[in-house]
């Protein structure tokens, strides 16, 4: 897996963003709400028009058809959507083993989507995204709806998968303690740009 590289990316109020994320590296992104964190992830996934260049493993975003790019550089939104009747229909492959690791019932794939809680949806959305075997991950507050226990399980599982599959990862996070637990690097949005911060601990 290659490096995810942003050069001169401009979207919304953000201008000229440069960032390099190495394979298996987790860069936590923080910033004020409305500061453009989600917009930046959407630009990297090519869901919003934007300026500048994004490359993965030296392949330019615009060199690939958009859906192939998004299949590689996969964004998991803060609020996931579910459109089929049952959970399992959303997955390209069986995921029973993974579910137990993050505190979900292994039989959850037979559940109707209407009975999912917001925390269950959030965890299942992460499993769904990873089951498509992406080459890079863009996570928008992946543990926002989870309690402390589930958060710890999801963080451990995500870090293990990210390092094992060598996925360059941008992880939008609010809490300093979560950033300290998972981040290799931490960047913070200030105004129109980003600045690198020390990772505590």
């Amino acid at each position: 897996m290659g490096t995810l590289k942003l050069s001169g990316v401009a979207v919304g109020t953000l201008e000229n963003i440069d960032l390099e994320v190495a394979p298996g590296e987790i860069v936590c992104l923080s910033g004020p709400s409305g500061g453009g964190k989600s917009r930046l992830l959407r630009a990297i996934a090519d869901l919003d028009p934007h300026g500048g260049q994004v490359t993965l493993d030296d392949i330019n975003q615009s060199a690939l058809p958009a859906h192939l790019w998004r299949g590689k550089v996969m964004m998991v939104p803060a609020e996931s959507a579910w459109w089929h009747d049952t959970v399992g229909e959303h997955f390209p492959q069986s995921v029973g083993n993974t579910l137990a690791q993050i505190g979900l019932d292994p039989g959850a794939s037979t559940w109707p989507v209407t009975r999912l809680s917001s925390g269950e949806k959030q965890r299942l959305a992460l499993v769904r995204a990873l089951s498509y075997e992406p080459s890079a991950l863009l996570l928008d507050e992946p543990t926002a709806n989870l309690d402390r226990d589930s958060t710890a399980k999801v963080e451990a599982w995500l870090c293990e998968r990210i390092r094992a599959d060598k996925l360059p990862t941008i992880w939008v996070a609010h809490h300093e303690d979560q950033i300290a637990r998972v981040a290799n690097r931490h960047v913070h949005i200030t105004g129109a740009g980003i600045e690198a911060l020390e990772v505590a601990g």
């Binding site: 996934a45 090519d46 869901l47 919003d48 028009p49 615009s62 058809p65 958009a66 859906h67 192939l68 998004r70 299949g71 590689k72 996969m74 964004m75 998991v76 939104p77 609020e79 996931s80 959507a81 459109w83 769904r128 995204a129 498509y132 992406p134």
Partner: protein, 265 residues
């Protein structure tokens, strides 16, 4: 059998019924009395004018004038398609897509029916061409407008589903597929229902008109069947084309959902 002529005072009696209805809606505070009366007045005025135009057109009967009339009707139908959209595409795209799809379906089916099925001499004889085109355009317009409205509305409402599917690497066709099929079904449903119920629940308006005007029922029925089939074909192909074109326009070259291309009224 001769036709009983209708005089204006007889129509005025029918108009009294509409006025009575308007008074009732006013008393019941439904707030539609004014719109009802304006619509009724528009019916009378518009149809009278069309009657004059048709009288003149039938007298001339040349291809130029028939074609001009046809295109005039097409443009008005295109405008009506836009007027029925809650969220039309910006920059005249809804008008363009609606007009183009009605042109390739309603016009093609009308010309085909005139030349290959009814075969009057000449084929553009306005007594056949104009009513046939009118029936086809009117119904195709309904199908196209319903299909487009359903598509743009569900794209707005289900934005998070469509974008989540895009995020998982689906192409725009896959991400929109369910909504596109829904929209095409919505456009086709009225004509399917009309064909299924024709003659049982209601006597179709055109056939009723023909019978009242003295045509033998058996012949009126044949024409009605012809009209229903051509309407089904025109509506179906028109809706297909319009929904497919509009779906494409909802996404840009990078397969991004572009709801900013919809006007929110």
């Amino acid at each position: 059998m001769s036709v009983i002529a209708l005089s204006w005072w007889q129509l005025a009696l029918a108009a009294l019924l509409v006025i009575a209805l308007a008074i009732c809606t006013f008393l019941a505070r439904l707030d539609v009395g004014k719109t009802l009366l304006i619509a009724a007045a528009r019916t009378a005025i518009q149809l009278t004018l069309v009657g004059l135009v048709l009288e003149a057109l039938f007298a001339v009967g040349s291809l130029h004038w028939v074609a001009l009339m046809g295109f005039g009707m097409l443009l008005l139908a295109g405008r009506e398609v836009v007027a029925r959209q809650k969220y039309p595409l910006r920059g005249g795209w809804s008008f363009g897509i609606g007009t183009l799809s009605m042109f390739i379906s309603a016009f093609a089916v009308t010309v085909l029916t005139l030349t290959a099925v009814i075969s009057p001499t000449p084929w553009y004889t306005p007594q056949y061409a104009i009513p046939l085109l009118g029936m086809l355009l009117g119904n195709t317009m309904t199908g196209v407008a319903l299909g487009l409205d359903r598509l743009t509305e569900s794209a707005r409402r289900s934005r998070d589903i469509i974008e989540n599917r895009l995020m998982l690497g689906e192409s725009w066709q896959q991400a929109l597929g369910d909504f596109r099929r829904d929209a095409m079904r919505a456009g086709l449903t009225p004509i399917i229902n009309a064909m299924a119920a024709a003659g049982i629940v209601s006597l179709p308006g055109m056939m009723t008109g023909q019978i009242l005007a003295g045509t033998p029922p058996a012949l009126a029925v044949k024409y009605q069947i012809l009209i229903m089939f051509t309407i089904a074909a025109g509506t179906g192909f028109g809706t297909f084309a319009a929904v497919a074109l509009c779906a494409r326009r909802l996404f840009d070259g990078r397969e991004r959902l572009r709801l900013d291309r919809l006007r929110s009224t």
